[in-house]
């Protein structure tokens, strides 16, 4: 294709219309797909991708069958930018259109930045507890923790879940043993073992392994449930096997000794540590009068969820209390804390628990600016049309 011809295509309104149509079909199909694939998986398969891949069931190969969200978005941005560069005229008549399109570019880029840069974690605690970290709700890691030379610090070796799922043998220079993954389950539950009834072998031989039963579950796709993976692995030291071990988010830390050192091991959700701590002081969970009834499991119509927390920041010598509730998040240190879930402590029903969603999104401001630009741009443009139209009718 000649460069001229290419520019013509890339700047054409026809391409815009094609992109909009593809985008529409994509959004529609991606929404329907959520019913079977779940929100998160459908997002990755349809929107956060350049192509939608498809292959017959059971086959090893897949082919791209439809442009994905990234591709449609990219072409749209390129089309928009080039069209403006190519045909740009600085006239009042076109002001609205320019402003609108700048706003749209900002929104699309802002979303891309969010996709790439934002991190969602959760902070869950009971009243009185304090946290200086938040954890991922999707990804787990196998950690080995040992004391370090500095008494205030610990040495942590963390192995992400992806590696546990894909590799058989894992080594780390800091660990005096190698890890041989025997089984990995993406979703599972553990419960205490009934020694008299259950005759099948326990999931693992060391640590808590012999005392529990592991129940592999199907992966859940619902947004309000989460997968609890588990891993069974054998530790091999220089002297040979150190037993098989079980890691699961519900289990307490287990201790393994090697080379005169003790290591605590656990499979837990990935943690993100913060330079400050948050203490949950009080939870408030109100429902509208007469709508709840614990006797028949009727939760009622929620009126208010509220967590009162204390922020302690030693670096800034800051200590203050603040309320976080629905539609009123706390923005602090580049993070935003949202009220997410609320419940009661399983052991002490009088003690409230709260889960805060913790989001780091450096581009959170772009939609606000984008909205103003596009809204303002469209308004200017259409008002000019309208005024012109009315004037013309007056004359006629």
């Amino acid at each position: 294709m000649q460069p001229n011809k290419l520019t013509q295509v890339l700047t054409s309104l026809r391409l815009t219309v094609v992109c909009l149509a593809l985008g529409l079909v994509l959004v529609f199909l991606g929404t329907l797909a959520q019913v079977n694939e779940g929100l998160y998986a459908a997002q990755n398969r349809w929107f956060r991708t350049f192509f939608i891949w498809w292959g017959p069931q059971g086959a090893q190969w897949t082919i791209p069958v439809f442009p994905g969200g990234y591709l449609v978005g990219t072409v749209l941005v390129v089309n928009l930018v080039l069209a403006h560069l190519n045909r740009f005229q600085l006239t009042w008549k076109k002001l609205g259109i320019h402003v609108t399109h700048v706003g749209i570019i900002l929104l699309l880029l802002g979303q891309l930045a969010t996709d790439l840069l934002s991190r969602e974690t959760q902070m869950s605690f009971a009243e009185g507890e304090s946290r200086n970290y938040s954890s991922s709700s999707l990804n787990s890691e196998l950690v080995f923790v040992t004391d370090s030379e500095n008494p205030n610090e610990e040495e942590v070796v963390a192995i992400p879940q992806v590696l546990l799922a894909s590799r058989h043998e894992l080594k780390h220079e800091k660990l005096p043993f190698t890890i041989h993954v025997r089984h990995y389950y993406p979703n599972s539950d553990v419960r205490q073992r009934a020694p008299m009834i259950e005759t099948n072998p326990p999931p693992a031989s060391a640590g808590i392994g012999p005392k529990v039963t592991l129940l592999p579950l199907r992966e859940t796709k619902k947004t309000d449930e989460r997968n609890l993976p588990s891993v069974v692995f054998e530790l091999m030291g220089p002297q040979g096997s150190m037993g098989t071990w079980l890691g699961h988010a519900k289990l307490d830390d287990q201790v393994v000794a090697a080379h005169n050192r003790t290591w605590r091991l656990a499979l837990r959700f990935e943690r993100q540590y913060h330079p400050f701590s948050v203490q949950l002081l009080k939870t408030t969970h109100e429902v509208y009068r007469g709508t709840a009834n614990p006797a028949i499991n009727e939760p009622g119509i929620p009126k208010n969820f509220q967590s009162r927390v204390r922020i302690e920041n030693a670096q800034r010598r800051e200590s203050r209390e603040v309320d976080i509730y629905m539609n009123n998040p706390l923005r602090y240190e580049g993070l935003t804390f949202y009220q997410y879930q609320m419940g009661r402590d399983e052991l002490d029903r009088n003690r409230g628990t709260s889960v805060l969603q913790v989001v780091r999104n450096p581009s959170w401001l772009t939609p606000y600016v984008g909205c103003v630009l596009v809204g303002g741009g469209l308004l200017i443009q259409f008002m000019m049309h309208l005024v012109g139209f009315i004037k013309k009718r007056r004359i006629a």
Binding site: T31, R289, M326, N327
Partner: protein, 648 residues
């Protein structure tokens, strides 16, 4: 005469509406139904008049806000019809009698045969659709068995029969709850039972203590007392409405109680609540047919409430009046009339019909607006708080746009669009209201007037304008294909209207969608989460943007624009209703199974219209007309201002 006719028509209907402003009063010597209907209760988490409780309950059970006690009679045989409050008075105060009334609507034939219900037979006083509690109850075990099985199935996967079973079950449960709202349904003589309970407390408590301490205890006193308490607890477990006002309104106005709770608290040293006593007197008088005593008890109770509960009384009174006005029903009737008149104006080309239609629409709009504002005032909320009110507001927005178009073009097109969208959305709202309370309290995440007033209002206006563009396009297609009235001038005018409306639809839907994203950012921590409802809104934006760009690029002309605008109807209806039916996501607040059928019908009809729009021009009557007359003589084409009914 024709000059005055529009004014006269509008005047007559204005009088009809004004007549409703007279406050409803009870007749001398008749049951004080209106007064009873104005009493405040707490149900569904909010204060409401008994009248609202009655109407919403009856709407759920019978799909109507009135009870026809003789449904086997034809309408001209004047069957006995009672108001919702009158029906509720029977259910709460004289359940035995109410059990005989055929108020349960059962449409599914297999449910009827499951319960062995009689077929229609006017001789035996059966209409084959409405049944009484006494008719249904003998088969309740079979129903429960089915219900247990069906409750394991996800709602989206249930067959129509299974849905009907679950619906009937919830209706029966609601009815049972109402029967036990005031006193236990099995109390034959209320004052006597009440006295017996009060007398049983002291020996009963003593017997309980003794049994607790493993001493000898009075078995009879124990059993009698325990039977009462169990009964009261069962009443509370049924989640009956809260009838009894709090002891200390100065401390908390919210602590209303169920009668069961008020009766149980006597055990803990409270004295019998005056309200319970009054209700007992009321119910007793009602059962024994003593009208004067009943009316006096209602009056006394209102007087007692007037000491400390003025805000609640006022709120209940206002909502009672609002129910009585039935503004949305009245505007619906007016829209239908206006629609007929406006359509007729195109055919016999008379301007008085068009003016009459315009006048009726303005009247309907005034009534519609009054209802909408009254609702906002009662709720203390912006106009759209749920699916029901979104329907009312979409109609309202469309009527505004239609009236503006009519004002500019004076050709009946704006009126037809205003009245048809107004009418259809109010029908939708009516059907949604059968689901129960339409002024329910807002869940915590929605409890923000700022976002309800901005995001929800703007996005709903986006729906309105997209529908208006779509309906304008439908007019173009229908008039073009089936009539000779679509002149070139009218065609051009319609294209201009559609284009202008789509511009605003783009603005509203885009800004509304982004505002929604910002709200989501405030409450869930992400701007965009690909939630089905968000995607639905995005699809509307994309579609409107596509239409605009396709037109700017010259890819579509007049007819293409119309076809695209009709697709806008599909896209919008899917976003409004379809995404809720997926049963997933954070916004899936309005699942209704009957709605699915209607949505499919609507989408099907729009596809047919598009097929019509794509049909070759020589099939269009109007284009044939144009070709014929174009060949005969070169005529001047009128400007849009002169595009009044196809007179060219």
């Amino acid at each position: 005469m024709k000059k005055w006719l529009p004014g006269i028509i509008v005047g007559v209907f204005a009088l009809w509406n004004l007549s409703a402003l007279r406050l409803p009063r009870d007749k001398e010597g008749a049951w004080a139904v209106q007064e009873f209907g104005k009493l405040p209760v707490v149900a569904n988490g909010r204060f409401q008049p008994v009248d609202s409780l009655a109407r919403n309950s009856l709407a759920q059970i019978r799909e109507k806000q009135t009870a026809n006690l003789e449904p086997w009679k034809k309408w001209n045989e004047s069957p006995r019809i009672i108001s919702a409050t009158e029906w509720l008075m029977g259910v709460t105060m004289s359940p035995k009698q109410a059990d005989e009334q055929p108020v349960f609507r059962i449409d599914h034939p297999e449910v009827r045969s499951l319960l062995r219900l009689p077929e229609a037979d006017p001789q035996k006083h059966q209409d084959g659709k409405h049944y009484s509690w006494t008719q249904i109850w003998p088969a309740h075990e079979e129903l429960e068995k089915q219900g247990d099985r069906i409750s394991q199935i996800e709602p989206a996967h249930r067959t129509p029969f299974e849905q009907a079973v679950m619906k009937l079950q919830s209706r029966l449960f609601l009815y049972m709850r109402l029967k036990n709202t005031m006193f236990p349904e099995n109390w034959e003589d209320i004052p006597k039972e009440l006295a017996a309970y009060l007398k049983s407390i002291e020996p009963g408590v003593a017997a309980f203590r003794a049994q607790d301490a493993e001493k000898d205890y009075d078995r009879k006193a124990y059993d009698e007392f325990a039977a009462y308490v169990t009964r009261f607890e069962a009443m509370s477990r049924m989640m009956t409405p809260l009838l009894v006002p709090p002891h200390h309104p100065e401390r908390s106005r919210d602590e209303w109680m169920r009668t069961g709770e008020a009766l149980i608290e006597i055990i803990h040293g409270h004295k019998l609540h005056d309200a319970v006593n009054t209700y007992a007197g009321m119910a007793n008088a009602f059962r024994q047919g003593r009208v004067v005593d009943f009316n006096k008890a209602v009056g006394d109770y209102r007087a007692a409430l007037a000491l400390n509960f003025v805000p609640e009384l006022t709120k209940a009174k206002r909502e009672h009046f609002f129910n009585h006005l039935e503004t949305f029903y009245k505007s619906l009737v007016l829209y239908v009339l206006a629609f007929l008149l406006a359509c007729a104006s195109w055919f016999n080309l008379s301007d008085w019909l068009r003016r009459a239609a315009g006048g009726l629409i303005i009247l309907a709009f005034v009534v519609h607006t009054a209802g909408l504002s009254f609702r906002m005032f009662l709720e203390g909320r912006p106009p759209v708080t749920n699916l029901y009110s979104s329907a009312i507001f979409i109609g309202w927005g469309a009527v505004v746009l239609g009236m503006i178009l009519e004002r500019f073009y004076r050709d009946g097109i704006g009126s037809v669009v205003a009245s048809s969208v107004g009418f259809i959305t109010l029908i939708i709202a009516h059907n949604l209201s059968l689901g129960g309370d339409t002024m329910e309290m807002m869940r915590a995440v929605l409890d923000t007037n700022f976002w309800l007033a901005t995001h929800v209002v703007v996005i709903t206006l986006g729906y309105s304008s997209t529908f208006v563009a779509g309906f304008l396009a439908i007019i173009y297609l229908l008039r073009g294909v089936f009539t000779r009235t679509l002149s070139e001038a009218i065609g051009k005018a319609l294209a201009r209207m559609v284009y202008g409306i789509i511009c605003f639809a783009t603005l509203f839907s885009f800004v509304g969608t982004v505002l929604g994203g910002i709200w989501a950012d405030q409450s869930w921590g992400r701007f965009w989460g690909w939630d089905p409802k968000e995607n639905g809104a995005l699809i509307i934006v994309l579609w409107n943007a596509l239409i605009l760009h396709a037109r700017w690029g010259g890819m579509v002309k007049e007819r293409g624009l119309m076809n695209l605008a009709v697709v806008g109807n599909i896209v919008t209806s899917w976003s409004w209703f379809g995404v809720n039916m997926l049963g997933i996501g954070l916004h899936s607040y309005g699942f209704t199974d009957a709605a699915f059928r209607w949505l499919m019908l609507f989408i099907g009809s729009q596809l047919l219209l598009i097929a019509l729009g794509l049909s070759p021009q020589h099939l269009w009557l109007s284009f044939r007309e144009r070709a014929a007359s174009g060949a005969a003589s070169a005529r001047p084409t009128g400007g849009p201002g002169k595009a009044a009914p196809a007179t060219t």
